[in-house]
């Protein structure tokens, strides 16, 4: 009952339809009825099951569907040395490698007959098992869910197939310059030894056996590491009972997922180039990062939005794209990491000969936001873009519970239970001085790393109308990075 109230609190006071009045020449002359919106409160949806598993639950009878996600703490950061790729294989094969009562192919056949969607995966820091099905099939669906979570079979033939498919994927690592860029960016920003730079290799993949999957599964896939979100066509109490059943009497002891290693090393400033024969260079400009719980987080988000996060209302997009026509996409992000600082990044793609010029424009804008205060108008636009779009975070039942489950996962609910209730005030309180302060404090220009993937010679040639020398843009000069062997991730000889 209470859940439905949260969205019921929305009050839109009739549309102001000035029938006879003239249409104004500027939109500022329009008046709008107020829109009052109270954020849903996570506590209203949060339930702790008998097993200790936290569930966010939201019945919604609009459609005869149930949507559920079991989020699992753990991921490839827990891959044993030499077995990189294990978490990924385990995650994928939980739902795809059979269960005791049904071999994989039969299970696939049954699920597709029921038009049910069952998926499982492990990413870097967390995994999930998702189930979306017609509510009439709930009994069978939850039976399968229990089996997939507690006793997946990891059939040998399915493991072999998945390994082949993964190897096919590895072979493509150097095909698209986009993949090279994101990989090298991570090496430069976090160091070779950082957990997510330990890539799956042909050898690590080859060494993974079914026993490894079982061991990984038994250790980490346990109610101790679960957080659930569920919404859709069900009775609240019945669903809670069902879930108690799914997590009861777990067959193996399991361990709580340990904290993520902080062993990271930000690279040496400089301009790094990977030579790749494509007619458009991809550029990433990086600076040291922040975490989401930093005290100046909101001011940083506002600052980045003005600089390059706000799309067409941001400075980098305006200059690189709209003014100069140098890129289709030009933007910046300063997201704030959950478990470790995540770097600032500005990026764009431009034809080889204008890469240097476009880079110099982005640098000018970074320097300008440090040097000069942002305008009142820019601040207003940015704040509104965060504050007035706020209800969009909760526009469906599934979105509400998944947002709250994600907060629970990253520890935000424990640390800041009123995060959403206070969110708009926190953004509102940022002023021009605060924006300039964080620009000065957080954009550490002397540590700038620029990564470029593209035709090295053409890029270094630059453009006759805009004589910019890449090597002079930052200290450290131009350094060529070798391509990596796609199967070993070792720099090519």
């Amino acid at each position: 009952m209470k859940q439905n109230m949260a969205l019921g609190l929305v009050a839109v006071f009739g549309l102001a339809l000035g029938q006879a009045q003239e249409i104004p020449d500027r939109p500022e002359k329009l008046t709008f009825p107020p829109l009052i919106y109270d954020a849903p409160n996570p506590a209203d949806y949060r339930v702790e099951l008998e097993s200790g598993v936290i569930v966010y639950i939201y019945p919604d009878r609009e459609r005869p569907l149930i949507d559920l996600s079991v989020n699992v703490r753990g991921g490839s950061y827990l891959d044993p040395k030499g077995k990189e790729g294990l978490a990924g294989l385990t995650g994928y094969l939980m739902a795809r490698g059979g269960i005791p009562s049904s071999p994989a192919d039969e299970l696939d056949e049954e699920l597709e007959f029921l038009a049910a969607r069952l998926s499982s995966s492990f990413g870097g820091l967390s995994g999930s098992v998702g189930l979306n099905l017609l509510s009439k099939d709930a009994d069978r669906g939850f039976e399968i869910l229990r089996a997939v979570l507690a006793a997946p079979s990891f059939q040998e033939d399915k493991l072999a197939l998945r390994k082949t498919q993964t190897l096919q994927g590895l072979k493509q690592r150097n095909d698209d310059s986009k993949n090279i860029e994101s990989r090298e960016r991570n090496f430069l920003a976090y160091g070779e030894r950082f957990w997510f730079n330990r890539h799956t290799t042909a050898a690590s993949l080859e060494s993974i056996r079914r026993e490894d999957l079982l061991a990984f599964h038994h250790k980490w896939v346990h109610p101790k590491n679960f957080i659930v979100s569920v919404s859709g066509d069900f009775d609240r109490n019945e669903m809670l009972k069902r879930l108690d059943g799914v997590f009861a009497a777990w067959p193996h002891p399991g361990k709580k997922a340990p904290p993520v290693s902080q062993e990271q090393k930000y690279g040496k400033p400089g301009v790094y180039i990977v030579n790749k024969d494509v007619n458009q260079g991809r550029v990433s400009i990086m600076l040291p990062g922040i975490r989401w719980d930093a005290p100046d987080y909101y001011a940083i988000q506002v600052m980045n939005d003005v600089l390059g996060g706000g799309g067409f209302t941001s400075r980098i997009t305006n200059r690189v794209r709209s003014d100069e026509g140098l890129a289709y996409s030009a933007r910046s992000a300063f997201p704030g990491g959950v478990y470790y600082p995540v770097v600032f990044r500005a990026g764009f793609q431009s034809k080889s000969r204008t890469v240097a010029y476009a880079t110099s424009i982005v640098l000018e804008e970074i320097e300008r936001i440090i040097r000069e205060p942002v305008t009142k108008e820019e601040l207003l636009t940015t704040k509104k873009s965060f504050i007035d779009t706020f209800p969009n975070n909760f526009s469906s039942a599934a979105q509400v519970v998944s947002a709250f489950a994600s907060d629970e996962m990253i520890g935000r609910y424990a640390k800041q239970p009123h995060y959403w209730a206070n969110y708009r005030d926190n953004i509102e309180s940022v002023d021009i001085a605060a924006v300039q302060h964080v620009a000065k404090q957080r954009l550490k220009l002397d540590q700038m790393i620029i990564l470029i993937v593209g035709q090295k010679e053409e890029i270094l040639k630059g453009h006759p109308d805009h004589p910019v020398k890449l090597g002079r843009l930052v200290k450290g000069g131009v350094i060529e990075l070798p391509m990596r062997d796609p199967l070993t991730m070792q720099p090519a000889k």
Binding site: D105, F113, N132, Q172, F312, E324, R353, Q490
Partner: protein, 572 residues
């Protein structure tokens, strides 16, 4: 059979999942579709212009898409602080551009005569062109003094609107945004203003942006340029043959005058449908739309009909591309347009082939193990359709092996009726699709744009019931009719030399030369039949291992593994 009926019993397909759109027509011929949903205080608003690349002609390919970009540049009051001055500058800019176009014609002539090699190279510009370019830049600088940068976006963003964007396809151009529920009038103001009196300022910079988009999506991706060639080969007479983004020669030659003309013809109210999904009252919203959008006068003439039909294909067409990609095959067949009854049977046929329990996965990935993945789908566009099957080879199998295995499945479909259970399975999924589609305002808006732009929004409610009527015999008939050799175009992709990845994971990390050595030795080992000689070799290498340097050690170890494997094989 009883079981199958029960399985579907809880779900009433068709009727229960109708999307209850309220359709109206404004006095100027513009259509209005409204769908009330009161889940959150927001409205997804958009409109679709029934114009896409199919309405272009050689020389201006890409104009529909470039035009879409221009629709965000503002109006006389949005985007400039001085509309009069702004208009004067735009006119002066066009005069300079006309002179530049004369120089461009000279440069194109020089290109044809082989005097220059590449028009895009900055060094190849004529002296006069450079002068004009400098003049144009001065006018840009003058315009910036009165320019209010990206104001169209700023007004919306400051009002709490989000997700403003647009897309162009072969058949349509769609525009969309989400606004807070109390800002519907702002939406009506903004959208009607830009339709009533758009100003295409910053035209030439935006043209460059579009070319960067072409480089990003088509030219610098592993398969983009080949997909473009494939479609150009597939369509012989039909305007679907050129890319939506436009040919590289055409994009930089499109003029603002052409864009003006394009707007006048294709953005007339009778060619546009407005669509609202979300938290509003239909009658109030309709009044608002009438007030704002009926200001736009009906176009004097209707856009010309697309009359060119695809000629019947007479022979199989093939291409092989050496690409930076895994070996794969991509096969296209001509099929009918959206709304043709056969397109529903083809949808079902594609579904029978797809999915983890579908025929392609079972036969190609699990059975013959020729492929690591395979797919099938039917794409019914407004004027014609295509059916597509493809898959990635499991090395050392080749794209040819995958292709042959695909034809085996195609022949099966022609010769044997699909089983009742298979048919029921795919129908269950289509029925569920109707249930799932109402996941968000935005999702519904985009689907209504797609259906309306592709012909008629009502298909959102009629398509699935039509699909549920398809019989096994229909499937066999359309397979026989369309999936023929003469009607297909085949692209095979093999890995480009120099980007080869070793088939044998053990060779990873070795140089090309080292790999060749190991391969040669490995093949000798494979043909060795004497256990004794192999064991001797193994001992010799063990002894060598101690004295070898790091690099050699790696090589020796790989060979030792090969020898050991051969010994194991012979000892079986």
């Amino acid at each position: 059979m009883l079981g199958l009926t029960i399985a579907l019993a809880g779900l009433v397909p068709g009727q229960a999942q109708q999307v209850p759109v309220d359709e109206r027509t404004l006095s100027n011929g513009m259509k209005l579709l409204m769908l009330e949903r009161h889940h959150s205080p927001a409205i997804a608003g958009g409109w679709v212009a029934r114009v896409g690349s199919v309405n272009e002609r050689p020389g201006i390919t890409g104009i529909a898409h470039l035009f879409e970009h221009m629709m965000f540049k503002g109006t006389p009051t949005i985007g400039t602080s001085d509309a009069k001055r702004d208009a004067e500058i735009i006119e002066q800019q066009e005069t300079v551009r006309d002179a530049m176009r004369q120089e461009e014609a000279k440069m194109r002539l020089a290109l044809r005569r082989g005097e220059i090699e590449d028009l895009a190279k900055p060094e190849n510009k004529t002296e006069r062109y450079r002068e004009l370019e400098a003049k144009f830049k001065e006018l840009i600088a003058a315009q910036r003094e009165v320019l209010v940068k990206n104001e169209f976006d700023r007004v919306y963003t400051t009002a709490g609107a989000s997700g403003m964007n647009a897309f162009t396809s072969n058949d349509m151009t769609g525009y969309f945004i989400t606004v807070p529920a109390n800002k519907l009038e702002l939406w009506a103001w903004m959208e009607s203003e830009r339709l009533l009196r758009p100003v295409f300022r910053e035209f030439y910079a935006e043209r460059d942006v579009v070319f960067e988009e072409r480089r990003m999506r088509t030219e610098s991706t592993p398969l983009g340029k080949f997909q473009e060639s494939l479609e150009a080969m597939f369509w012989e007479s039909h305007p679907y043959g050129w890319p939506v983004i436009g040919w590289p020669s055409d994009i930089p030659a499109i003029t603002k005058a052409q864009a003006d003309e394009f707007y006048a013809l294709h953005y007339a109210p009778q060619n546009i449908t407005l669509i609202l999904v979300g938290d509003f009252k239909a009658d109030e919203a309709a009044k608002l739309c009438e007030r704002y959008f009926e200001r736009i006068p009906r176009g004097k003439r209707n856009p010309p009909e697309v009359v060119t039909e695809e000629v019947a294909q007479k022979v199989e067409k093939r291409m092989n591309a050496e690409a930076e990609a895994n070996p794969q095959v991509d096969i296209l067949w001509h099929t009918p347009a959206a709304g043709h009854p056969d397109s529903y049977a083809l949808e079902v046929l594609a579904a029978v082939l797809s999915g983890r329990s579908g025929r392609l996965h079972k036969a190609l990935v699990l059975g013959d193990e020729v492929a690591t993945s395979a797919f099938a789908h039917q794409m019914a566009r407004k004027y014609a359709g295509m059916f597509n099957i493809g898959g990635e080879a499991k090395e050392p199998k080749t794209p040819g092996d995958v292709e042959a295995a695909i034809y085996v499945e195609v022949e099966r479909l022609k010769n044997e009726p699909v089983s009742a259970r298979e048919l029921q399975k795919v129908k269950n999924n289509f029925a569920a699709m109707a249930v799932r589609r109402a996941s968000s305002n935005f999702h519904l808006l985009v689907q209504l744009i797609q259906y309306e732009g592709g012909g008629d929004w009502k298909s959102i409610n009629t398509e699935i019931p039509s699909i549920l009527e398809v019989t096994a015999e229909d499937i066999r008939r359309v397979a026989q009719k369309y999936l023929t050799k003469e009607n297909r175009t085949v692209a095979t992709f093999t890995r480009k030399a120099g980007t080869k990845v070793p088939d044998d994971p053990a060779l990873a990390g070795l140089s090309g030369e080292q790999q060749a050595v190991v391969r040669r030795i490995a093949s000798q080992i494979k043909s060795e039949i004497s256990l004794e000689r192999l064991q001797q070799q193994l001992q010799t290498m063990e002894a060598q291992l101690g004295q070898a340097d790091g690099k050699q050690q790696g090589l020796i170890k790989i060979i030792m593994v090969k020898v050991a494997e051969r010994i194991a094989e012979l000892s079986k």
